[in-house]
Structure formats: structure tokens, C-alpha cells
């Protein structure tokens, strides 16, 4: 028979202050941990959802992103020779979407407009909705003839002036009023941070004669590699990438920051291990006689070892719960919205940090491990208490 659960529970309660302080240490570490994982996770999932394996993004060779790419119409037309492109049923028009991307500076909602973000504005044609299959227009789309745009849901939430019915000023000199007539979602992908309008109208507003990029949808089952080779080759001389490749390239710089913050969290978790070990050692030292008693009445060393481990894990889990609550409170009050530049896009990717059940589970798991590791040596010592000596001495 194992030691009763209430024995450990009460042991924690008896040493209120020490237990409380340790719980707070764990809570602080877990709070930071949850935030960082949430941050990384949100960024990652936003980029990962942008990976339609049938979709290719074509840039000018030499360009590193859509923002610094410029494709002439005659270059664009060469893409029509690719046989693997999916065609529109009926008309048989190839599903290649010419696009132009420019930026507009909009105030950030999270700091009441003190700073401004570069928001991508994409000029598209009707084909875009067929090529970008995860786009869902919520409400009405822009009418080709009118000065109208639709805003991605993330952009609408994080940047000012994008409510339906509001007007933003676009164009090279920011002098063309465009009305927001609807929203669109992109299954959480990076396109949700953009504003979309009718390509000819926007090209005119920005005095542009060239496209930035082209997106194309391949036929189901068509391999991307040969098409990419064909596009990069002498006949077309543009640069094609799958959507996943393109976005993982854009997020490269962000990953370095994440790695550094991971190191910092790892160091702090180590500190938590030492702090827990410290407390458990002292707890064992203070209870030597009690442990000897337990041994005398028949509990085995293993039972005592597990008992102490259990105590530490319990303490850590309490801390973890507090840390998660703290993190949730922080996100709710300070804000969960973030935006970040891609490496070269020069446009902001807006995302929201969410405390998902997965993150909470990961935090609880890691923390239980931290508690167990911290308590291992003290518990080992407890299990090896010399019964007779301990009873006599104390």
C-alpha cells in the first residue's frame, strides 16, 4: 500500500511559505514559457497553413519576395505555356493569378496608433479566388469597377481604419479613397494580414505597369518539381516556389529570435529545478525522524521515494496552473495581438497568441518533469534514511 495522498498534500500545506514561494517560482517560469510557446505556435501555424501543395508562387528571378519582384506582362504571358496548370471548367482559362503587392502604413490598434505597420495591399483579379483555394469572402467582394477593397480578418482586427464602410487612402500618393466593403479569411494563413482590391484599379493607382508575382494552381496529382524546373528554365526565366517554400523562406529571420528566447526559458527552467531541489532537500532533512517512523511501520524505500516525487510534482503542477492562468490574464489584459515583418516582404504578418490546450498540456508535462527531476535526489536521500540512527538522533 502506498502512502495516502493526503499525507503529501498536508505536508505541502504545513510548510505554507516555502511551498507558496516555490509555486510562485514555477508559476513565473511557466507563464513565460506559455507566452513564448504561444507566440511561436501562432507564428508557425499561420505560416504552416499557407502550404497548398498544388499552389506555386512565381517571382522575377533575383527577387527574394513578392515585394521586390517585378514581372512584365510579356514574361507573365509565357506562363500560359505550362500544361500542368489547372483550368477553369467551361471556359478552360488557366488558373494563373497575376498579382501586385504594395504596402500601406496603417496604425496599430494595440498601441492606439502610436506606431504604424506596413500592411500589404494586393491587387488581384477574379482568378485569385480560384487559385487561393482557402480564401473565403465574408460579406461582399470588391466590385471591379468601383474603388473598393476587402480586408483580411487579421488585418481588420489589428490595424486601424479597416471596418466595413470605412475608407482608406491608397495609391502612390495616398490620394485615392477606397471603401472597405467586406472581409475575407484564409484559414488562418498569412494572406489574412492583407488588403485585397481589383488589380487594374490598384495598378493604376500606384502607377505600376508590372505585376509583382503570379500564383498558379496545378492540376490535382501534377508534380510541382518539373513545373518549377520549367519556369526557372530558359523558356520562361522566372523563379517558382511552392507556397510552403516561399513562406518558410520569409520567416527565417523570425526563427533566430525564437531560438534565443527558447534558450532563455530553458535556463530559467533549470533554475526552477534547483529551487525545487532546495526545498525538497530541506523538507527531507526536517522530516528525517518522520521518515524513519514510516519505515518502521512498514513503508518501503521505494514508496517513500515515489511519495516525495509525487509531492514535488504536485507542487509544480500547482505552480503550472497558476502560470497558465497568469499567462491567460496577461494575454487578456495586455493583449494577444502581434505582428512581425517577414525577412524581405516588408509587410507585416499579423497573428494572435492563443493559449491552446496543447500548449497548456505541454507546459504541465514539462513542469511535472521539472518537479520530478528537482525532487529526485532529495527523495533518494529520504528513501535511504537509516532507520535506527534517525530515530535515535533526532
Amino acid at each position: 500500500m502506498a502512502l495516502p495522498f493526503s499525507y503529501h498534500w498536508r505536508n505541502l500545506l504545513v510548510r505554507k511559505t516555502t511551498t507558496g514561494l516555490n509555486i510562485l517560482v514555477v508559476a513565473a517560469v511557466v507563464g513565460v514559457f506559455c507566452w513564448l510557446i504561444g507566440f511561436a505556435g501562432a507564428l508557425h501555424s499561420s505560416l504552416a497553413t499557407a502550404s497548398d501543395s498544388r499552389k506555386l508562387i512565381v517571382l522575377k528571378s533575383g527577387a527574394t519576395s513578392e515585394s521586390n519582384s517585378a514581372i512584365r506582362t510579356d514574361e507573365y504571358n509565357k506562363l500560359n505555356q505550362i500544361a500542368e496548370v489547372e483550368r477553369l471548367p467551361g471556359s478552360g482559362a488557366p488558373l494563373i493569378s497575376p498579382e501586385m503587392i504594395v504596402q500601406v502604413q496603417l496604425p496599430r490598434v494595440r498601441d492606439q496608433g502610436t506606431t504604424r505597420a506596413n500592411v500589404g495591399v494586393r491587387g488581384v483579379t477574379e482568378t485569385a479566388l480560384q487559385v487561393h483555394r482557402n480564401i473565403k469572402v465574408l460579406g461582399r467582394s470588391f466590385a471591379p469597377g468601383a474603388q473598393e477593397v476587402i480586408a483580411g480578418v487579421s488585418a481588420a482586427k489589428q490595424f486601424g481604419g479597416l471596418e466595413i464602410g470605412e475608407t482608406i487612402h491608397l495609391g502612390y500618393a495616398s490620394d485615392r479613397p477606397y471603401r472597405i466593403v467586406g472581409y475575407f479569411s484564409a484559414a488562418g494563413g498569412p494572406l489574412e494580414s492583407e488588403i485585397w482590391g481589383y488589380l487594374p484599379s490598384l495598378m493604376n493607382a500606384y502607377n505600376r505597369a508590372m505585376y509583382s508575382s503570379a500564383s498558379m494552381l496545378l492540376q490535382p496529382g501534377a508534380a510541382a518539381e518539373p513545373v518549377i524546373t520549367q519556369i526557372n528554365g530558359p523558356a520562361i526565366q522566372l523563379k517558382a516556389q511552392t507556397e510552403a517554400q516561399y513562406w518558410s523562406e520569409q520567416a527565417k529571420n523570425i526563427r533566430i529570435y525564437l531560438n534565443i528566447t527558447y534558450v532563455l526559458v530553458a535556463i530559467m527552467s533549470l533554475a526552477a529545478i534547483f529551487s525545487i531541489a532546495n526545498t525538497m532537500f530541506s523538507s527531507v532533512a526536517g522530516r528525517t525522524r518522520e521518515i524513519a517512523m514510516l519505515r518502521t511501520i512498514g513503508f518501503s524505500g521505494v514508496q517513500i521515494l515515489t511519495g516525495f516525487l509525487l509531492e514535488a510534482v504536485m507542487l509544480s503542477l500547482l505552480g503550472a496552473v497558476m502560470g497558465c492562468l497568469g499567462c491567460a490574464a496577461w494575454l487578456a489584459t495586455v493583449g494577444r495581438t502581434k505582428d512581425m515583418f517577414g525577412a524581405t516582404t516588408f509587410t507585416s504578418l499579423a497573428f494572435e497568441i492563443q493559449l491552446t490546450p496543447m500548449i497548456i498540456l505541454a507546459a504541465l508535462g514539462c513542469v511535472a518533469l521539472v518537479g520530478a527531476v528537482g525532487a529526485l535526489f532529495p527523495a533518494w536521500r529520504a528513501a535511504r534514511v537509516q532507520v535506527v540512527t534517525a530515530l535515535r538522533e533526532a
Binding site: 527577387a63 517585378a70 500618393a173 526545498t279 532533512a285 515583418f341
Partner: protein, 389 residues
């Protein structure tokens, strides 16, 4: 028996605890000193930028829109007597990358004549300036790219532009600047870029930004207003801001890492305070009897108070030294250089950060000792002796 002896004995009595506390204290302290160094570097750069009194003028819509070349004359025309501004330097983004590498360098083409005045902090010697004026392909490079690509002064390098029309140009490196504020930059002459663009029939002379060196803070404010007023209601409306406001746009856009580091530092202080407090409480609890004996044999309450306080401070000092010294030494010899964040090319521990860290540790030690020390002071000798025994 001196007080130091008592303190040392106390710390030595439970070596395991002293060691564990010191390590639990040292690890977060290492994080703290790095985070604070990072923040301190930003503060220092912001202060240095402020001192340079530079205004940036770019297109109101976005930085990627070009402004006409001629705006420079118009800005200079606002102050023909040169009582408010010293020089105007137009710059155009080149976005060059070393062939076969993915990332574009912060490479800018700058007006050859005014560049040495506007960026006086680069400490160009008269010889450097002469070389820069004479050699059309001259380039001045910060430490960051020079270290990454092992460039030397006098070397010829080729960069491929990542913006249309994707020119590939070769440069002669005439100076590698160790100026901390300009560490990730690559500057070259704009006339070289414009001439090369003309050769491929690309469109004419334009700039992304004009940097104006001002003579006083008042001049800066008045010029800022005048320039934006001058361009209002033209196709090329401008936004004029000082260098720190300009940099802040990017810092925010890159995820506000300095802000993140500040929060991190605050959390760390919280953690070490708890760790130290915990240890002092435990050690007080176990020594109640001993302290009672101290009081019984005539130690005054303030003395007992200071013994506990001194022990706490000493523990905190040891812990923080263990965290700060190795981190500082490590970063001194192996600075993290792969980290190119805005103006920062390497993370080094600044003396200021060390001082701040040690002060914080000292405060935490005092704070952690207060409650146990107060209790020890108020300890009723008779009760304590009776209770524990």
C-alpha cells in the same frame, strides 16, 4: 569570533543548500544580465542617435515609394544660410546580397558629397573621405557584414540587388567602420548606382529617404514641420521623422524584441527574489534555537537582525557573481554574432548591465532577508528556547 566568521560558518553549514541556492540564483541572473545588456544597447543607440540630430524624410505612403532626386535642393532651399541644417544626404535602397546567400544586406546608395558630413560619427579620416570622393566604387561597411563575409579593407566585392532591375555591382571596400550604431550597414555612392541604372535604361535618379543633419534640436523641430508642409498636396507628400522614431517603426515591426527582453528581466527579478526569500526562510526556521541562544548570551536585537541580513546579502552576491561573471566573460570572448537585429550585430555584456545586475541582486538580498531578520529580532528568547528544545 568576528561576524564574518559567523557568516561564513553559516553558509558552510548547509553546503548543499548554499550551492543549490547559489545556482538557482545564478542561472536567472545570467538571463537577466543578457536581457539587460540587450535593452541597454538599444537605449545607448537611441541616445547616440538623438545626439546626431538627424531627420529622415521619406514618402508619406511608404518607405518603398521613391522621392524625386530634386527634393534635396528644395530642402536645402529652406535654409540657404545653413543656420539650421548642415547637409542633406539622399539615399536609395539597393538591397544587395552576396551571390548565393539568401539575405539582403542593409545596403544603401548615398550622396557622395554630403555623406561624410551627415554620418560624421563614422569617423572618416581626411584620407578616407578623399578616397571615398575619388573612387566611384567606394564602399563603407559596418563590422557586421565584414565579419560575416570576412571582408578586408581594399577588397573587391560583388553584390546582387534584390530590387528591380536586379543589378549586380562590384565595390571596393575602403573602410570597415567599428561604429556601434552603424554596424550592419553597407554604404556606397549613389552616382555609381544611378549611372549603372542608366546603362540598363532603368528609370532616373530617385531616393527612398533623405537624411538631414541638423544643427540644433530646435532646428530639427522646425525643419520637420516645414518639410512636410512644403510637400503637402503634391504627389510626393513626405513624412519627416527623427532617427529614433524611424528606427522604432522597425523595432515594432520585428516583434518588439526589446520590450520582450524587458518583461523577461522583470520576471527574472521576481524569480530570484522568491528563491532567495525561500532559502532565508528555511534557514531561519532551522536556526530559531541558535538565534535564541545568541540573544540569551547577550546579542542585541539589531545585531541579530544584521547577522541575518548580512547572510542574505552575501548569498545574493555570491549567486549573482556566479551568474554574471561567467556570462560576461563568455560573451566577451565569444560574442553572439549571428544575431543581426536592427542596429545590433553582436550581444556583449555592457559594464552598465553588470552594475545594474549586481545592484538588483543586492536589493533582492536585502528584501529576502528582511522578513526572517525581522522575526529573528522580535524572537522572544525564552519561548524560542522552550519551543524548539
Amino acid at each position: 569570533m568576528t561576524i564574518t566568521y559567523v557568516l561564513m560558518q553559516n553558509l558552510r553549514r548547509n553546503r548543499l543548500r548554499t550551492a543549490l541556492t547559489a545556482i538557482a540564483f545564478a542561472l536567472p541572473m545570467a538571463v537577466f544580465v543578457s536581457a539587460i545588456s540587450f535593452v541597454a544597447m538599444f537605449v545607448r543607440i537611441a541616445q547616440a542617435n538623438e545626439k546626431e540630430l538627424r531627420l529622415g524624410v521619406h514618402h508619406r505612403t511608404t518607405l518603398t515609394n521613391y522621392l524625386p532626386d530634386g527634393l534635396r535642393r528644395k530642402i536645402e532651399g529652406l535654409d540657404p544660410q545653413r543656420t539650421r541644417l548642415s547637409a542633406v544626404c539622399g539615399m536609395r535602397w539597393f538591397g544587395g546580397r552576396v551571390p548565393e546567400t539568401p539575405n539582403a544586406l542593409t545596403s544603401l546608395a548615398a550622396d557622395a558629397d554630403t555623406f561624410p558630413i551627415v554620418y560624421s560619427e563614422l569617423d572618416l579620416t581626411p584620407e578616407d573621405t578623399a578616397l571615398w570622393q575619388r573612387d566611384k566604387r567606394a564602399a563603407i561597411v559596418g563590422m557586421g557584414p565584414a565579419e560575416t563575409y570576412h571582408w578586408k579593407v581594399g577588397q573587391r566585392v560583388v553584390l546582387e540587388s534584390t530590387v528591380p532591375p536586379y543589378l549586380s555591382l562590384d565595390f571596393n571596400i575602403i573602410k570597415i567602420s567599428d561604429n556601434e550604431m552603424r554596424t550592419n550597414f553597407f554604404y556606397f555612392r549613389r552616382d555609381y548606382l544611378e549611372d549603372s541604372l542608366k546603362e540598363v535604361n532603368a528609370d532616373g535618379a530617385r531616393c527612398n529617404i533623405f537624411w538631414i543633419k541638423c544643427q540644433s534640436a530646435e532646428a530639427m523641430r522646425s525643419l520637420q514641420e516645414e518639410i512636410d508642409r512644403m510637400t503637402a498636396n503634391t504627389p510626393d507628400e513626405t513624412k519627416t521623422e527623427d532617427e529614433n522614431a524611424f528606427v522604432a517603426n522597425f523595432t515594432q515591426a520585428l516583434g518588439d524584441i526589446p520590450g520582450l527582453m524587458q518583461v523577461m528581466a522583470a520576471v527574472v527579478v521576481f524569480i530570484i527574489a522568491l528563491v532567495a526569500g525561500n532559502t532565508m526562510m528555511m534557514s531561519f526556521r532551522e536556526r530559531t534555537r541558535e538565534l535564541a541562544v545568541f540573544k540569551a548570551i547577550g546579542f542585541q536585537a539589531p545585531r541579530v537582525f544584521s547577522i541575518i541580513m548580512a547572510e542574505s546579502v552575501m548569498l545574493a552576491t555570491i549567486g549573482s557573481l556566479l551568474g554574471v561573471v561567467p556570462t560576461a566573460t563568455f560573451l566577451l570572448f565569444f560574442p553572439i554574432t549571428m544575431f543581426r537585429f536592427g542596429p545590433i550585430s553582436r550581444i556583449e555584456v555592457s559594464p552598465l548591465a553588470v552594475v545594474v545586475s549586481l545592484t538588483i541582486a543586492l536589493l533582492v538580498g536585502l528584501l529576502a532577508g528582511v522578513w526572517p531578520a525581522y522575526q529573528a529580532m522580535r524572537l522572544r528568547t525564552v519561548d524560542a528556547l522552550r519551543r524548539v528544545a
